[in-house]
Amino acid sequence: MSKIITNVVCPYCGCLCDDLEVVIEGNKIVETECPCELGSGRFLDLDIATRIRESRIKVDEGFKEAKIDEAIERAAEILASARRPLIYGWSSTECDAIRVGIELAEEVGAIIDNTTSICHGPTILASQDVGISTCTLGEIKNRADLVIYWGCNPMQAHPRHLSRYTFFPRGFFREKGQDDRTLVVIDVRKTDTAKLAKHFLQVKPNYDYELISAFRLAIKGYQVPDSVGGISREKIEEIAKIMKESHFIVIFFGLGVTMSGAKNRNIDNVLSLTRDLHRFTKCVIMPMRGHYNVTGFNEVLTWETGFPYAVDFGRGHPKYNPGETSVIDVLLREEIDVALIIASDPIAHFPKEIAKSLMNVPIIVIDPYESLTTEVASIVIPSAVAGIEVDGTAYRMDHVPLRLRKILEPPEGILSDREILSRILENVKRLKGR
């Protein structure tokens, strides 16, 4: 007997598409109706070989399988006695788990941070300097006539971004879909997204700041140098003219802009460009958030503590000072003595020196799947997959919150992130005599 579940929200990338159809037989997904490989993979590869089935605790040189209660108890003991714990990850789980995680961080005086620190942290820093003119994705679908992708390649990383939200679809004021829009791509290489663009500007690596400045000059009618970052004056002036003549411009940008050259100053500049364009027309901008709920972590942490990422509870109150309280920096200073890693794989993604520093302390990992981080962990607690085996809230890259669905039972004995964290928190409170 197969069952078709419609309008499933996809817990993969920041697009958070909510129109998937999933076919279930028994307690198994057999098919998905979804044009995106990444999204379908999430559902179809749910039970691949790297799925963790049992908790385990490191002993001497090896691991021993442990009962979940024992693993939770041990994790709580380590956290409760830690002097400077780090709690990191979060971007691939749902908001209720994050809420419990924040309370746990507060209880043990931890530093809590998520992958924002290594992706769009500079975007948040820049928006704290100049603000940001943005919108929900439907505004773009219905209105945008100029779509610019800068330093990102959604055809690979957010496969349905152009087809569902931005370039191809018909919108209320864009009845002919792509024929009503102009696509511009700015990148250091000719990506699959760039191949679709009417105008592709191949900027030299680390020349984004200069090119943004050139656009700001051009739209205000100032003289632009003959060539900026490998782009000719004519081209810059041509694009600037298209910008000023458009009715609704959107700029999407990715890690190519946030993590190269001037980092947050790049973003500062591009946010200011959208602001400048408001003298002439409507212009909005949006970071291409990667993980499906990286935005959700920023939202929850902000409303509970006042700050979006990199919060240090060491003094009892939230302290936010990226560069000091952000994950890379505390690891660089070798400050922490325990790390709880959840829904992320930092050993695979951090710079080598930082990963090494992390490996020097006991690591507790909560994750459905094996990763490089589980390889070096002291305690591994498997969890259910949020958005498939657990319900909850996630925030799309444009801050639209959606309800993730539970469509399958998790494997026997496997708890959700929020249950595991709640039980660790309970144990910590008990150990601390609360």
Binding site: E107, Q128, G138, R143, V300, P318, V400
Partner: protein, 570 residues
């Protein structure tokens, strides 16, 4: 069981004006004293203290996309006031944009127990409710933004009021909202094209409907549905010199509307919010002046109008509103960082930090206008205390406003510190009226309860009311501005649903409040027809599918649903 003995009680809905009445509480409700065994009850000695119902804030931006964007982009505001975690309280941060836990605590400490979040974009309603769930102690409700909604505009344009009513009913249910909120009707849609509407008769681009038609249309639908609150309106051209005529025009637009509500309690058919921002004369910032007297006179002659103050507090704050063009104008004025937001088919918004400077003639006159409105409107049931938190100032300054209202001397000393043009451009220096505590209880509690039609359980201390009580250490026979501000800043006790949550200005226990929302039901066939049309709108223009749009039950865990049978609309 609780007994509050020997306090001076101010309970306008029960006409108790400072008399010594003992209040008995059992099972979270106010009960007859005979229901209580005085030997078993905990007794609070309120001698030389005043007792009021828990405060109600009819308009405070505490939850959802906008305030969170404010927190996110203003860490400097967060760092201004950090609060540690204790054995009872969660930690938090923020002065004008406080985090959710401390928002609940600070309101409770001031004796407030019911808050209205006034700007919930339907598409982001889930976010609003998530934050309200993390706002401890206080009861809450949220107003659904509908004044720039495409579907509403199209229905009203076509004169299809029944379908519009069916749509509004569905929207309120889908968003778990309380009332129809309108912000710069038509103007926010125009702002999506970087434009605005200049007055009540300026048509919205493409939709070809005027703000006046939108206001009249939604007011009509509001009364058709018998909603407990009236339309809640942020007027066009808000914050712009000379806008008082648009405000009067907005009132006039619906002067023939007949009030018709579920419990027949409210008298208003329009509530104009933060009216201070809508009472401006002059035609530029140079000849900017107060027209509060004109607005007040109109309100005095028209019982179908209520307002809240939007009182300016000199100092730094964060402005946030669904009124996108307004925020762009503010940014152009002060050149500080600016957030803009557009929300598909529904609304938009923006944020800008702002400093109300005592040295600025404009800001000084703005300060005067809010107070003038409260002092010149005769019936305190028509004007409510607010700062449009945090737009004109953070809510923690309410006690200061109370002292200004209660003491001419307090106003005079503030006026001394402001720009000297204030007295010429406003009447504030000539007004002798001083509010008494009975009137304060009206503009901070009783009035709101009536305007929201919650006075069965809220805003008073009669039998069967929710046991939400504020006790302030203030002797009514010995009032000074300093004592007033101090007492209202830190309640001696705040009692929520019968439990003592604040004692001596400190949070002593945490409770979770209720969420109020309205669920009107129109005729089934009508709803089916409307839904058929909406389904198409979702399929073509929204970026979320229709089944994923409505806020699920789990987002309102302590739900207080108000069902309305409107099946007569067909």
């Amino acid at each position: 069981m609780l007994l509050i003995n020997n306090g001076y009680v101010y309970d306008p809905l029960n006409k108790i004006d400072g008399e010594k009445v003992d209040i008995a509480i059992k099972d979270g409700k106010i009960v007859e004293e005979s229901q209580i065994n005085p030997l078993e009850a905990k007794v609070i000695d309120a001698t030389n203290m005043i007792v009021m119902p828990g405060g109600i804030d009819v308009h405070t931006h505490i939850s959802g996309y906008a305030i969170n964007a404010g927190r996110r982009f203003r860490p400097e505001d967060g760092r201004r006031w950090l609060e540690p975690h204790t054995s009872i309280r969660r930690s938090g941060a923020g002065y004008s944009v406080p985090s959710t836990f401390v928002t609940g605590y600070r309101y409770a400490i001031m004796g407030y127990t019911m808050l209205c979040e006034p700007a919930m974009p339907p598409l982001l309603a889930r976010h609003t409710h998530e934050e309200l769930n993390d706002t401890p102690i206080v009861d809450t409700t949220a107003f659904t933004l509908l004044g720039n909604n495409w579907t509403v505009a199209q229905y009203i344009k076509r004169g299809e009021y029944e379908r519009c009513a069916a749509f509004i009913a569905w929207m309120l249910r889908a968003t778990k909202g309380y009332c129809i909120k309108m912000v710069n009707p038509g103007g926010v849609e125009a702002w999506a094209w970087r434009s605005n509407v200049k007055d009540l008769n300026d048509p919205v681009p493409y939709f070809d409907i005027t703000p006046a038609e939108l206001i009249r249309g939604l007011a009509t639908v509001n009364e058709m549905l018998k909603l407990p609150h009236s339309i809640h309106v942020h007027t066009n051209q808000l914050g712009v010199p000379g806008n008082f005529e648009i405000t009067i025009g907005s009132f006039d637009t619906i002067k023939d509307a007949k009030v018709s509500s579920i419990r027949g309690e409210r008298k208003q058919s329009i509530h104009v919010t933060h009216a201070q921002f809508s009472a401006y004369g002059g035609d530029s910032w140079n000849n900017f002046e107060s027209k509060a007297d004109v607005i007040a006179k109109y309100v005095n002659n028209h019982p179908y109008v209520t307002i809240d103050m939007g009182q300016v507090i000199p100092g730094e704050t964060t402005t946030m509103t669904a009124d996108g063009p307004l925020e762009y104008n503010l940014h152009s004025l002060n050149n500080l960082k600016w957030i803009n937001q557009g929300i598909e088919l529904e609304t938009g918004g923006g944020l800008v930090p702002f400093i109300y400077s005592r040295a600025s003639p404009v800001n000084s006159v703005q300060w005067a206008i809010g107070l003038e409105l409260a002092l010149l409107i005769e019936d305190p049931f028509q004007v409510y205390l607010s700062t449009d938190h945090p737009n004109a100032g953070p809510f923690i300054r309410y006690p200061r406003i109370i002292s200004w209202l209660m003491s001419k001397q307090s106003r005079e000393s503030q006026l001394q510190k402001l720009h000297k043009r204030t007295s010429k451009r406003s009447l504030i220096g000539t007004i002798d009226r001083e509010y008494n505590l009975y009137e304060i209880a009206t503009i901070t509690r009783a009035g709101q309860a009536v305007a929201l039609e919650m006075s069965d359980t809220k805003g008073h201390l009669g039998v069967n009311a929710d046991a939400d009580v504020a006790i302030y250490d203030l002797d009514p026979n010995n009032l000074t501005p300093q004592k007033i501000e101090k007492a209202f800043s830190h309640a001696a006790y705040t009692i929520k649903d019968g439990e003592i949550v604040v004692k001596d200005g400190e949070v002593v226990s945490i409770t979770q409040g209720k969420r109020f929302w309205v669920n009107p039901q129109v005729d089934e066939d009508l709803e089916r027809m409307m839904l058929r049309e909406i389904r198409r709108t979702f399929a073509l223009f929204y970026t979320v599918t229709m089944p994923n749009f409505p806020v699920q039950e789990m987002y309102v865990p302590s739900s207080n649903e108000i069902k309305i049978d409107a099946t007569y609309i067909s």
